[in-house]
Amino acid sequence: MAFESLADKLQSALKKLTGKGRLNEKDVKEAMREVRLALLEADVNFMVVRDLIKKITQRAVGSEIMESLTPGQQVIKIVNEELTALMGGTQSKVVMASKPPTILMLVGLQGSGKTTHAGKLANYFRKQGKNPLLVACDIYRPAAIKQLQVVGDKVDTPVFELGQEDPVHIVRKALEYAKENQHDMVLVDTAGRLHINEELMNELISIKSAVQPHEILLVVDAMTGQDAVNVAQAFNEQLGIDGLILTKLDGDTRGGAALSARAVTGKPVKFVGMGEKLDDLEVFHPDRMASRILGMGDVLTIIEKAQASIDLKKAEEMERKLRTQTFTLDDYLDQLEQIKSMGSMQDILAMIPGMNSSKLGGLKIDEKQIPRTQAIIQSMTPRERLNPSIINASRRKRIAAGSGTRIQDVNQLLKSYEELKRMMKQMTDMSKGKGRRGRMKFPFM
């Protein structure tokens, strides 16, 4: 079944647009039709798709098309970024309890992969030097306990079970056992159940209040369709979950359920299951998941490269200047031009290796200040621009008069320029891992 890829569709939908400039509403709308279809085809929940499209449209309309990209690629870039953002931060870890044992509880629908993943987690934490205990609370499904025992055996982890006893009793006893036997982690496997089965949902609530697990992880089959939102929402509302485990990702599903479950619960995907073997457990990468859902990893790679090749050149040049302390007022003027033509300095700064946008925090540039700053710099002689330290009181007076500003404005600019230089040096140091974070302020903010 050859699905025409989203990339192809977008490319043909936007083929006629070879011009540069900004994305207009009509182009974006056309592209969004294709994006919507692709997301639905990937099983992202309908409502989630609707919200996403709205958000992406708002961002895309009027946005600048990057030098090296086609309009179609520009749209894909935005879609990918929004998807990645929605998917949450990278690699959420399990937080260990300050007072062991750390108790994790796995819950989910029938057949989602809880038992296997209980085993995988035991294996994962053993490798990190922990001493986990598996607890068999699936008292319903035929041979479920036996299954956990076989799995436990394979990963060298003991299994606590009391046959078909009440699960609440089982976990209580298991916790006592864990404390007596120096187990610093307790992994509770529960029976698969429907989120609409009140009796069985109450059972989970009882287990939760009996042992107060540190984390409750909802195990979700990556092949789940539109229903993923109902399931995730019900488990989260009734039980309160702390994270998701996405299973069977070694298949060829696009895995839109990940996005849906994440969107309705706000809880991060903590692990993904990548196979039947007990070491097939991986941490979650939001960016990979985003491109998987879109089904266009190749195009994204091309976009990344195109983007990187032009912006990196600028970034490298700037970084060199910063490092060698040759960032002059002329360079500053240059930057201001670029801010006007390119969108944002944050983007360039973010390209500096080791730098990420989170370090740049709420950096916001006041565009209205730019013309005045430009005028001041333009009123300086080339020598002054290259070496601002020679700008004495009389020179300041001349510059203010020449640019139609006040002396205070010139003073402010020079101060800001020094500050920017210092800050940028600090940032490059920081990106090399030796500085600390400082408050950053741009002169034109």
């Binding site: 639905l40 990937a42 499904r141 479920a144 799995v151 539109q226 229903d227 060829d252 599903t253 696009r254």
Partner: protein, 309 residues
């Protein structure tokens, strides 16, 4: 073994299962019908959404919507309440066209396949007890020698049903299990041989090869038996079910589908797409975890259950 849900009558449970499936679409359509007095673009769009939310998928939804749009234009339909009938008609026709029922006269081998955790073993348990109740002699081959405790799980089901079981050790060659089970079925003159297999993702070449080998053993060792290949599909599955069906069909030639877990809130609409695109009929539906929570699939009943309130 504790009884997880109160024992209900067979029909009551079936009705419950279908009602849940049905209410979701029906109530939305009813809502729409109430809300829109005129058939306009917004109305069609919302109707489309209803189908998509039932996992019918974009392609088949478009197929259905085109049909309805054409009908509305041709017959100059101005009455929104007719839409519900049209929807039902179209879905029935997709499900019915060239449909088959499982053939169970004479010795039959039923090979049960599917991805991990969809309900293969449980469905075999349910089928076994159904056939045993009908007075048939049933043998089960425990050809999932891979998953931990799969044999034990199936053994419990076979006891419940009163069927005999052929089991080897964990890790044994599944084809050898099937081979033995065929010899046993022949010598005991069994009516039905049900073969459980390990769950496998359809994109794993070596695992699909293993399945093909099992299928060939059946053809070679038991040519006189009628062969059915049942693909088990979990109703919560989204569009990937289409790829599953296509891939399993290519490997072992699926003859029918068992749609499980319809007792949840998932609507299982993807089988409409599977039927429409691959023409694989649905044989059974699963509506719970007990022995009697399996029902033959009937296109007309199913579509009615989806749309009648």
């Amino acid at each position: 073994m504790k009884d997880r849900m109160e024992k209900k009558g067979f029909f009551a449970k079936l009705r419950d299962g279908l009602t849940k499936t049905r209410n979701n679409i029906t109530s939305r359509v009813d809502e729409l019908v109430k809300y829109y007095r005129e058939i306009d673009d917004d109305f069609f769009e919302e109707l489309e959404e209803t189908l998509i939310m039932a996992d019918v998928g974009i392609h088949t939804t478009e197929e259905i919507m085109n049909y309805i749009r054409d009908k509305v234009r041709e017959e100059k339909i101005g009455d929104v309440s007719r839409i519900k009938d049209l929807l039902k008609e179209k879905i029935i026709s997709i499900l019915e066209e060239g449909s088959r029922k499982p053939e169970l006269a004479g010795p039959t081998v039923m090979l049960v396949v599917g991805v991990n955790g969809v309900g293969k073993t449980t469905t075999i348990g349910k089928l076994a007890s159904r056939f045993c109740r009908e007075g048939k002699q049933v043998i089960i081959a425990a050809a999932d020698t891979f998953r931990a405790a799969a044999g034990e799980q199936l053994e419990i089901w076979s006891k419940r049903a009163g069927a005999s079981i052929i089991r080897h050790k964990e890790g044994a060659d599944p084809a050898a299990v099937v081979f033995d089970a065929i010899q046993s079925a022949k010598s005991k003159k069994a009516d039905i041989l049900l073969c459980d297999t390990a769950g496998r993702l359809h994109n794993k070449k070596n695992l699909m090869n293993e399945l093909e080998k099992i299928s060939r053993i059946i053809d070679r060792e038991f040519p006189e038996a009628h062969k059915e290949v049942l693909l088990v599909v979990d109703a919560t599955t989204g569009q990937n079910a289409i790829a599953q069906a296509a891939q399993f069909r290519e490997s072992v030639g699926i003859t029918g589908i068992a749609l499980t877990k319809l007792d949840g809130t998932a609507k299982g609409g993807v089988v409409v797409a599977v039927k429409s695109r691959l023409n694989i009929p649905i044989y059974y539906i699963g509506v719970g975890e007990q022995e009697d929570d399996l029902h033959p699939f009937d296109p007309e009943d199913f579509a009615s259950a989806l749309f009648d309130s």
